[in-house]
């Protein structure tokens, strides 16, 4: 939370708003009347309204801050306020769940929001929603923290300055909006433009159509940092108007991904991961698995779990795909001749590899999918579609669907040139931040100056907000009504779980307000759905809200009537991309796994979550392969300057980070960092990659990378502070090899002999029967619930969702970059990433992920050494900590072989609260907030176990039924890699998984008998290709 820098500032800022919130009686009176119609659904407490409640919460927090500032009171006194009239259906301390829907990194999926006394504390996937199936992502998990973001926009800004009169009230916001609407109206439709993201919200898009009706000459433009427009353009090129692709991994036995990350941050990652993982787990029943080929310039989550991975620069993807088409044609597949004509001229980067892939694809005709990343140019998508079409995948694993987005939408580049030509006088920007995230060569900020009136809605007073004529604060998705439709056509209603913390508007309210409509979001959304619903709207509406899913799908699936003639024309004019050299590297800009395009940059959880592969926190860096770095004499932490010489030179000074798996002579820069607005988390984190971004591609040729002098400290959670990276990697690799920490087999070996002992268990101690006599009496493991967990390495994609979910569930503090540098991060579940293969050959590099939390050892080394018996064995086999008994000798952490124990070196939770008192509202009331000087670690979500036990007791059950307890990491996991349950029940899922031959305990030879075991990874390499490197 970088509280060292911002503590004072935040404290002062907070108190100022507190006065406004709690100390003016007339303000309170106004707020009382402020609830929109439909607020009844919000479970609002009669008598004490939520805002007053907030005021009191805030006041007590501030009071606590005051007293602790004097330093006399160690444990702050807090005032609580009971309900004097309890709402009928509310039990204090009991969580309430609401179904909603959200859009995270290009995917729309259903949500279940947990709320305590009106405070949303956790966001999870909605199991009934087909795009989530209960899973979610780190973005979704962290979105709840955004509600309490201290830097979210609170006031209407006029020309970047908060309007002076009665600011911060909804009435003032609405009045300002009316003024802005009048300005818009005055333009009489001349030079009006609307810029928004590709938000598939039926109500909002209906309003956009109304906007178009009111202003027929208006330009509607869509800004999509993921560049998904390439896909739509490709579909248009081959004859599908206004369409998009939807992938069904459940019917794909072979997946070939070209510069795509369908399991990481591109598209419907949760559903893709669920379906993909199911096809991997089938190894246990049917000894069959899907096979994944990935061609990419840098490790994505998808690439890390690939059976075969080829390192290739982004600019050569199209040619690789054309070569594949040639191979397929050579093996008898009917590839359209328009493509082949051009394709025959290309030389493939790795002929043998593509040939094997082609054979595999033909063998699994109709049951595979060839994917291309959004950032690839449209013709590459079109070629991929042609291949999919020839393979008979279209309609099965690859589905073309009509897009809900406006058909005539322009791109940001087109809009910018209109602005530069002076054709735009009034620009409406709906939750976009183009001043920050527009490609550098568009020079959007300059173009914006040519617009007379710009009206911006945004969550932060960000770069665009400050450059606009009007800025309106946007409400969080958990604060307002709305709707979204997923890529498969499933629609869902977003319902609020909390009144907006600050006077702010939803997208729908904002656009409606600009159109002169004085309705609330609730009215607008309901009115929209009333139109399309049957007679009994009320009951349908209630069901939709309850289920979180609207059953009848929207949009339509298009039949495959592709016409490749235009593609042929495009291909003939195509040159070849120049191969990068050691002096002229290829630059690849990528959306970031932690902050996406920068929108999550002010989210402390996401900033501190280590990147899946580089394990970087709090920063981005220019990623280089060890070989390229060596050639250029660059070391991790060196400052480098990247220069792109095109019509105007683009340059950026950025720290370098050397990591295996990057294509040769390529430099990868994640976007989304180096924000230039006053966000206390985002400020100072990383470097702004947008400075290098060109309008057409996320990649660029001829990047000149040179040492800029100086170094920069990068905080990683692995290879912490290693002085000699090369030495450490070498020694580390040797150590992993000897230790059997990771166990990985090929499908062929697994089929021959599934038993793992032979291959890995050098000490022959894997079998508990071989364990020596134990000094201590074994706990009774045969009675009641005995908890255990399995983590399937075969499923895990290293997506970090578990780490984020654990942080949200267990009130885990953020420590900030300085302390990550000191190896003091607090995450209870971490994802260890190991590489395999030859460092100098990027094609041979593979990555393996191993999520690791406390393994709850039967004979736990930590329990024996604690001098005060603060950590003890629970009767249900868990390794418990009594925080209040812990005196903090750290002996347990020293003796833990898995190094999963975390120590509160400072009073982190207090610091977190001081940096922003609102963060306290996110805290899970069922989990103790840890004080300075105590150890903490995974508890197997003991609070959830106890909640389930209470439920069971009420029902009169002795033993909890399987599935009654779902840990936070298990719940969120998009690949269902984590199972948890009762080991005494032989039918429980976890018991069944533990009986698999793949099951093994990490460091089993220490005879710790951990309750968490792992299921070995099985890769399915193509026998025609060299089998992947064995770990």
């Amino acid at each position: 939370m970088q509280s060292e820098n911002n503590q004072e500032k935040s404290g002062r800022k907070y108190w100022r708003s507190l006065e406004e919130m709690a100390e003016t009686p007339e303000l309170l009176a106004r707020m009382k009347n402020e609830f929109p119609t439909g607020a009844a659904e919000l479970e609002v407490t009669p008598g004490v309204d939520r805002r007053q409640f907030l005021g009191i919460i805030g006041a007590s927090a501030a009071f606590a801050g005051l007293t602790s500032a004097t330093g006399c009171i160690r444990k702050p006194a807090e005032k609580i306020l009971p309900y004097n009239k309890r709402p009928e259906d509310l039990i204090e301390g009991k969580a309430q769940s609401y179904a909603s829907v959200g859009r995270f990194g290009g995917s729309v999926f259903g949500l279940l929001v947990t709320s305590y006394e009106g405070r949303p504390t956790k966001v999870d996937g909605n199991p009934s929603h087909p795009m989530s199936l209960g899973g979610s992502t780190a973005f979704a998990q962290a979105s709840v923290l955004d509600v309490y973001d201290p830097d979210r926009s609170q006031y209407v800004l006029k020309a970047g300055v908060a309007a002076s009169s009665s600011r911060g009230t909804l009435k003032a916001v609405k009045a300002a909006l009316a003024t802005a609407a009048a300005e818009l109206k005055a333009s009489a439709g001349q030079g009006v433009a609307l810029l928004m993201e590709a938000v598939p919200s039926p109500t909002l898009l209906a309003l956009v159509r109304e906007f178009q009706a009111d202003y027929p000459k208006a330009t509607i433009a869509i800004h999509d940092p993921a560049m998904r427009w390439n896909e739509s353009a490709a579909l248009e090129l081959i004859g599908f108007k206004n369409a998009e692709l939807y992938h069904r991994f459940e019917s794909a036995n072979v997946i070939a991904a070209f510069d795509a990350d369908p399991l990481g941050i591109e598209g419907d990652v949760v559903r893709n991961s669920k379906m993909f993982a199911a096809k991997r787990r089938s190894v246990d029943e049917s000894k069959t698995m899907s096979r994944l080929y990935v061609v990419e310039p840098a490790f994505t989550n998808t690439g890390a779990v690939a059976d075969h991975r080829m390192s290739l620069r982004s600019s050569a993807m199209g040619e690789a795909l054309l070569s594949l088409a040639v191979e397929l044609a050579a093996q008898g597949l009917a590839i359209p001749s328009e493509i082949l004509a051009r394709a025959r001229q290309t030389t493939s980067p790795n002929q043998k590899w593509l040939k094997a892939l082609a054979t595999d694809l033909i063998l699994n005709k109709g049951k595979n999918a060839v994917l291309v990343g959004h950032s690839q140019r449209s013709w590459v998508h079109a070629v991929a579609f042609a291949i999919n079409s020839a393979l008979g995948n279209v309609g099965h694993s690859v589905v073309v669907r009509s897009s809900p987005l406006p058909a005539s939408a322009r791109t940001l580049a087109e809009l910018t040139s209109e602005m530069n030509r002076g054709q735009v006088q009034t620009l409406v920007m709906l939750d976009v931040n183009p001043v920050y995230s527009a490609p550098a060569d568009l020079e959007f900020a300059d173009a914006l100056k040519k617009v007379k009136t710009s009206i911006h809605l945004g969550y932060h007073a960000d770069e665009t907000a400050l450059a606009s004529t009007w800025h309106f604060p946007r409400a969080h998705g958990l604060e307002c009504w709305g709707d979204l439709v997923s890529s498969d056509g499933t629609a869902a209603i977003a319902q609020p779980v909390i009144e907006p913390l600050y006077a702010s508007l939803s997208d729908v309210e904002f656009l409606a307000g600009l159109l002169g409509q004085q309705k609330t979001a609730y009215e607008i959304v309901q009115a929209h759905w009333k139109k399309s619903s049957g007679a009994d709207f009320e009951s349908s509406w209630r069901r939709w809200l309850h289920d979180g899913v609207i059953k009848s799908p929207m949009g339509e699936t298009l039949s495959n009537n592709a016409d490749f003639s235009k593609l042929g024309q495009r291909l003939t004019g195509l040159g070849t991309s120049p191969a990068p050299t050691a002096s002229q590297l290829e630059l690849r800009l990528a959306l970031d796994r932690s902050v996406y395009d920068g929108r999550y940059a002010n989210n402390a959880w996401l900033q501190e979550i280590p990147d899946s592969v580089s394990k970087l926190t709090w920063d981005n860096a220019a990623l280089l392969s060890p070989k390229t770095a060596k050639d250029k004499g660059i070391k991790t932490g060196d400052m480098v300057e990247i220069k792109i010489k095109q019509d105007k030179e683009r340059r950026l000074k950025i720290a370098a980070f050397v990591v295996p798996g990057i294509a040769e002579n390529t430099v990868v820069v994640p976007l989304g960092y180096g924000r230039r607005f006053n966000g206390r988390v985002a400020t100072g984190a990383g470097f702004d990659g947008y400075a290098l971004l060109g309008r057409d591609d996320l990649f660029a040729f001829a990047a000149d990378v040179s040492l800029a002098g100086g170094t920069y400290e990068l905080a990683t959670t692995q290879e912490h502070g290693v002085s000699d990276y090369e030495y450490d990697t070498k020694v580390g690799a040797e150590a992993i090899k000897n230790r059997g920490v990771l166990r990985e087999l090929t499908l062929a070996t697994y089929k021959q002999d599934p038993s793992l002992e032979k291959a890995f268990d050098k000490f022959n101690l894997g079998d508990p029967k071989n364990h020596r006599t134990l000094l201590w009496q074994r706990p009774n493991e045969t009675r009641g619930n005995q908890w255990g967990m399995t983590i399937d390495l075969n499923s895990c994609t290293g997506c970090n969702a578990c780490t984020a979910a654990c942080q949200a569930e267990n009130n885990i503090s953020v420590v900030g970059k300085k302390r990550v540098l000191k190896s003091r991060e607090m995450h209870w579940i971490r994802i260890d990433r190991y590489f395999a293969g030859n460092v100098d050959n990027p094609d041979s590099i593979q990555a393996v992920f191993q999520p690791l939390a406390c393994a709850h050892c039967e004979t736990a080394p930590c329990e024996q050494v604690c001098p005060v018996a603060a950590t003890v064995h629970g009767v249900e086999g868990t390794n418990d900590i009594a925080y209040n008994r812990c005196i903090g000798t750290r002996y347990c952490a020293n003796n833990c072989p898995y190094k999963v124990r975390r120590f509160n070196y400072f009073n982190y939770s207090k610091e977190n609260d001081e940096s922003n008192p609102l963060y306290a509202m996110q805290k899970n009331p069922r989990v103790t907030v840890r004080f300075r000087g105590v150890i903490e670690k995974c508890s197997y979500c003991v609070q959830r176990v106890n909640a389930a036990r209470i439920e069971a007791k009420i029902r009169g059950e002795e033993v909890l039924r399987d599935g009654a307890v779902v840990t936070a990491c298990q719940q969120v996991c998009p690949t269902d890699a984590i199972s948890f349950g009762n080991l005494n029940d032989p039918d429980s899922r976890v018991s069944q998984l533990k009986s698999l031959p793949r099951n093994y305990a990490v460091l089993s030879e220490l005879a710790l008998q951990p309750r968490t075991t792992f299921l070995a990874k099985v890769r399915n390499p193509n026998p025609e290709l060299d089998s992947s490197t064995q770990l």
């Binding site: 912490h720 020694v731 000897n738 230790r739 920490v741 302390r819 003091r824 190094k899 000087g933």
Partner: protein, 472 residues
């Protein structure tokens, strides 16, 4: 610097014993020599030294205050390396203490009479070193305000400490050691304090009088005194071995490669005696020079101590070699890894500092010339203590920084507070020691007198009379 007189007792002859007190000292002159630093006007040099030491103590106090205020995070520790300088310093200081007890108890039981002129200062050193050591386990815990939970105090929670934890054994071992050492020291002091009661006036006389416990030097007093002294020596003797054995259990009973080793108890005890004697040499050289004790603390004393350093240093060296041998012989890959990593990994500099200081440099003591050269003795002893500090650092930090899972490898860097706390602990030590030399006899007067020829009850020469020589 050395005269022939001071070197006169280095040779042992078959027919006669070398004298332990040189020169023509009498009972009275011995008392006067020892009393001089206590009875003279406080010299300027003492004040300067005391000011420096006391500032060091202030640094310790400030460092601890800052630590208490902010949290253990002010040190360089992390989630992988949970102990570093704190426990290193603890083991270092406990180790130093051992020489004192060995000299006063074990050498007493073995009738090593040369011990008499150094045992008082060595015992004082023990107590002050244990005080320094006790600071660290006390302050290293995360919640100091509940550190008393380490003691088995009946409480409303009905909670006892965990008797299986070696840390708790430490609490008992070190507190017992401190108590017994203090008692032993005090009992030994009684006759000398009585001497000073009789020699001083005013408030001093009163204070010494209280601590002299009414000592009159009667036969019965001497009888009881010698009994008590013997019993306490017998009680202290096992403690010399047990305290560091139990301290080593902190590591040996864990399951961390590099810590989990059965060799630790003897290896730690040898190391403790090794470092303790080095510290005694340093302190005695200074005291002897400043307070002109050449006739009481003779070169023979130093030579004997150098021999013990040579012996224990070789034992420590043997232990280092054995650790490597066992790491290889056991076939345990984790064990092998950590030892190779110690010698070649990121902390190789610390490992080789340790080996150089502890194994290589003390080998110089094979040469009598070096053994009897005070400058060499002083410098080598300083190196031994540097080496022994590094030994504990190497054991603790290198084992922790690369444990079982390569994902959790880290590097420890000390902060300024780590350093200031350690330096401050020397401030505490020297403050106490300077007060000791000013207010208490640094040589056990009554004991020294027993090894002088005058104390020999035999009328004729029984081999104990060096000066008179003559026939048997």
């Amino acid at each position: 610097m050395e005269t022939s007189v001071t070197l006169a007792n280095l040779e042992e002859h078959v027919d006669k014993r070398s004298p332990l007190v040189l020169g023509k000292e009498t009972f009275a002159s011995v008392t006067n020599i020892v009393a001089k630093p206590m009875e003279m006007k406080t010299p300027k040099a003492w004040w300067i030294c005391f000011l420096i030491a006391f500032s060091g103590l202030g640094v310790l106090g400030a460092s601890i205050a800052y630590l208490f205020w902010e949290g253990v995070g002010v040190w360089g520790l992390n989630n992988r390396v949970g102990w570093a300088w704190d426990i290193t310093n603890f083991v270092f200081w406990v180790g130093i203490g051992h020489a004192g007890t060995l000299i006063s108890a074990i050498l007493f039981l073995f009738r090593q009479k040369w011990r008499t002129s150094i045992n008082r200062a060595a015992e004082a050193m023990t107590i002050f070193a244990v005080i320094c050591a006790l600071v660290f386990p006390g302050i290293h815990v995360g919640r100091v305000w509940v550190a008393y939970w380490l003691f088995p105090i009946p409480n409303q929670m009905l909670m006892w400490p965990n008797f299986r934890s070696p840390l708790l054994w430490d609490v008992f071992a070190v507190s017992t050691y401190f108590t017994v050492s203090t008692l032993f020291w005090f009992v030994g002091l009684i006759p000398d304090i009585a001497t000073f009661r009789d020699r001083s006036k005013g408030i001093r006389k009163f204070v010494y009088g209280i601590f002299a416990l009414g000592w009159r030097g009667s036969q019965r007093h001497w009888l009881n005194y010698e009994r008590a002294y013997l019993i306490l020596a017998a009680l202290s003797t096992p403690l010399v071995l047990s305290v560091h054995t139990i301290v080593s259990f902190d590591f040996a009973t864990s399951q961390l490669p590099g810590w989990h080793a059965t060799i630790f108890p003897p290896y730690f005890v040898a190391g403790a005696i090794f470092s303790g004697f080095a510290m005694v040499i340093n302190l005695m050289i200074l005291c002897r020079w400043v307070f002109k004790l050449e006739h009481l603390v003779t070169m023979r004393h130093f030579e004997n101590m150098a021999k013990i350093i040579l012996l224990t240093g070789s034992m420590v060296g043997y232990a280092y070699a054995m650790e490597f041998f066992i790491a290889w012989y056991s076939g345990n890959p984790y064990e092998r890894f950590i030892f190779i990593s110690r010698a070649t990994g990121p902390y190789a500099w610390a490992y080789w500092t340790m080996v150089t200081c502890n194994v290589v440099i003390p080998q110089l003591f094979w040469s009598r010339k070096i053994r009897t050269n005070l400058w060499a003795l002083f410098i080598i002893s300083v190196f031994v203590n540097i080496g022994m500090w590094f030994e504990r650092f190497v054991i603790i930090v290198t084992s922790l920084h690369r444990t079982f899972l390569p994902s959790s490898w880290a590097y420890f860097r000390p902060t300024i507070i780590d350093i200031s706390t350690f330096i401050g602990s020397f401030g505490l030590f020297f403050t106490l020691f300077l007060l000791f030399v000013r207010f208490l006899p640094i040589v056990a007067i009554s004991e020294v007198k027993t090894v002088m020829p005058e104390a020999d009850p035999h009328g004729h020469d029984h081999g104990n009379k060096p000066a008179t020589g003559g026939a048997h």
